[in-house]
């Protein structure tokens, strides 16, 4: 890794400059992560007085545990649903805004602000709209003959949290798609038009393939978002229910650790999540390296 051609001399100064960040990192990141790793190898007795070393037993148990496997599959459905929904809506909006000249910035402003809304608030908003007794959407659904109730129906609950999570993420994806489209040289579009491609054909044969780096990047980011940043949405609305239908992994770590007080299992789940984050980060970075070489 580079520095400047010329650097400052100094024996202690660089360490002093790094100290605040390094100390905080050690205390609040490295040490807890180590603890999670360590605790994942232990089991506490019923009274939390003694713990014994159990090796990988906590992990083995997890993968035999129906509720954990359920949580895994719930997470997959939730992540895929959120990613697909928010990305496709964002792509549609971005490609439409991109053809506007004068109104582009107005529409952009109107579309980006949900980024500022906390996931928990997004959850509360949608929870309220879909509230079976006073919500407006269940009322409309009832008119077409559908009985909405996310308190009983697992699929209704899942749909609700996906909607809330995707709604908040559209603005983010929209901005990246728009930036990606604006970096495509206009001459390519014009060449395709001269070659006789219709607007829709131009989009799918020129714009979309050239956007693929952005699309791939956003896929990774959205999966990370859906897996880790949506705790608030779940906690403020379904709390994992009904019947664990929306119990995503990151919520389960919290629930098992803080509510269930099963530290060994929660630590093992933490470790698994860390492995997933590391893997996703590596994918993302490898991709960025590739894009730089474009």
């Amino acid at each position: 890794m580079q520095t400047k051609r010329m650097t400052f001399p100094g024996r202690w100064l660089p360490f002093a400059l790094l100290a605040p960040q390094v100390i905080i990192t050690l205390i609040f990141f490295i040490w807890p992560a180590g603890q999670a790793l360590y605790q994942s190898l232990l089991r506490e007795d019923a009274f939390g007085l003694r713990s014994t070393f159990v090796g990988l037993e906590n992990f083995a148990r997890l993968f035999r545990d129906g509720s954990y496997l359920n949580s895994l599959s719930v997470t997959v459905v939730f992540a895929v649903g959120t990613t697909l929904l928010s990305m496709s809506v964002a792509l549609l909006l971005a490609s439409t805004v991109n053809r506007m000249l004068r109104s582009r910035s107005t529409y952009t402003t109107l579309l980006v602000w949900p980024y500022a809304i906390a996931p928990a608030l997004a959850g509360v908003l949608w929870w309220f709209i879909f509230n079976p007794s006073i919500g407006i959407v269940p009322y409309m659904l009832e008119m077409v003959g559908y009985q909405w109730n996310h308190r009983n129906s697992g699929s209704d609950a899942m749909l609700l949290v996906i909607l809330a999570a995707a709604w908040k993420q559209v603005s983010y994806n929209f901005l990246f798609f728009l930036a990606g489209m604006q970096s495509i040289p206009q001459s390519l579009i014009e060449a395709a038009a001269i070659d006789g491609a219709s607007p829709i054909k131009r989009f799918w044969t020129i714009v979309f393939p050239l956007l693929s780096p952005t699309t791939f990047f956003l896929m990774v980011v959205n999966v990370v978002y859906a897996m880790f940043d949506t705790f608030g949405i779940i906690h403020a609305t379904t709390e994992g229910g009904p019947a664990q239908a929306t119990n995503i992994l990151v919520y389960k770590v919290y629930a098992d650790g803080f509510v269930g007080l099963n530290l060994g299992s929660s630590a093992a789940q933490s470790v698994i999540l860390m492995v997933i984050v590391v893997a996703l980060t590596v994918i993302q970075f490898r991709f960025i390296e590739r894009r730089v070489n474009y």
Binding site: M1, K4, R5, M6, T7, F8, G10, P14, F15, L17, L18, Q21, V22, I24, T25, I27, F28, F29, P32, A33, Q35, A36, T96, V97, R99, Y107, L110, P114, Y115, A116, I117, A118, L121, V124, L125, W126, W127, F128, I134, I136, S171, L175, F176, E190, A193, P199, F228, F231, G232, H235, A236, V250, V253, Y254, F258, L263, S270, M274, V277, V278
Partner: protein, 280 residues
């Protein structure tokens, strides 16, 4: 655009207006709900137009909060959120600028080691290592304090990387000219590097402020004392009551959303820059 067909433009506007409507819809509903009388919401379906009780609902929420629980006033919760968000933002910017400066402008032993140490934090969101981190904060007696709310969230590889990236693009000659002009490391940092980084700092400020303001899980765990309740988690507490008072909750939601939304609207250019550059 290559061509300009009126019907195509009309169609595009229609798509966008529907999109904007869908995006605005939940917040519109929140505004409508926050202006209704309490019994209006218990009667069944929500009206589609704002009611006339806005001022009293917002005043009540702002001054005293939801009376049935001991949840604090919105004024206090907003203040707490503001303090936490500012502490996180300023703290992140401060430590990231310093460490990026060290990594780019000095050569020293274990430089790569420290770089990787900071890099690792990028991979460990607080949600993932929540319990051991909680234990550390509890052991340090930082529960129910602004220090406990903010300091553990301050370490930020993202900001450090962005500043490193930016510092690398500052021309070499800036440093050389400054040294010929007699500037030492900290003089250079203060007189040259910081002023050159203003736009980047502002862009990151927007992103970090939103990040800090929207913290949820962490305050939920760290604070039990109502005096430290932040607005986002306070709203969750209000909704989990037996009979949620939606007209007040929605007033609180609007107030909670307003500061970060205003930040984005007024600093859109910086926000977009901050967002697209921190992720690259």
């Amino acid at each position: 655009m290559v061509e300009n067909r009126p019907w195509a433009n009309g169609f595009a506007h229609t798509v966008l207006i529907i999109g904007v409507a869908l995006v605005v819809f939940p917040v519109y509903i929140a505004i409508v709900a926050s202006t209704q009388a309490p019994d209006e919401l218990l009667r069944g379906t929500l009206p589609l137009l704002p009611g006339s009780h806005g001022i009293e609902n917002y005043t009540q929420m702002w001054l005293s909060g939801v009376s049935s629980t001991n949840s604090p006033s919105a004024a206090l919760m907003l203040w707490n959120s503001f303090v936490m968000a500012m502490a996180i933002t300023v703290g992140k910017l401060f430590i990231s600028l310093l460490s990026a400066f060290a990594i780019v402008y000095f050569r020293f032993r274990f430089r790569m080691f420290f770089f990787w140490l900071i890099f690792v934090t990028l991979m460990l969101p607080v949600e993932v290592r929540i319990i051991p981190t909680y234990q550390v904060v509890a052991d340090l007696s930082m529960l129910n304090s602004f220090a406990g709310l903010s300091i553990p969230l301050i370490a930020s590889a993202t900001a450090t990387f962005l500043f490193r990236q930016f510092f690398m693009t500052v021309p070499e000659e800036m440093l050389e000219a400054a040294r010929v002009d007699g500037a030492g490391p900290m003089t250079f940092f203060k007189d040259i590097l910081l002023p050159l980084s203003v736009t980047n700092i502002a862009a990151l400020f927007v992103i970090m402020f939103i990040y800090g303001w929207n913290q949820y899980l962490w305050p939920l765990l760290i604070t039990t004392d109502p005096d430290y309740t932040t607005i986002v988690m306070g709203i969750q507490r209000m909704t989990s009551e037996e009979n949620p008072q939606w007209h007040l909750i929605m007033a609180a939601v609007v107030m909670a959303a307003l500061p970060p939304v205003l930040v984005i609207l007024f600093m859109q250019r910086l926000f977009v820059k901050g967002l697209t550059e921190t992720e690259k």
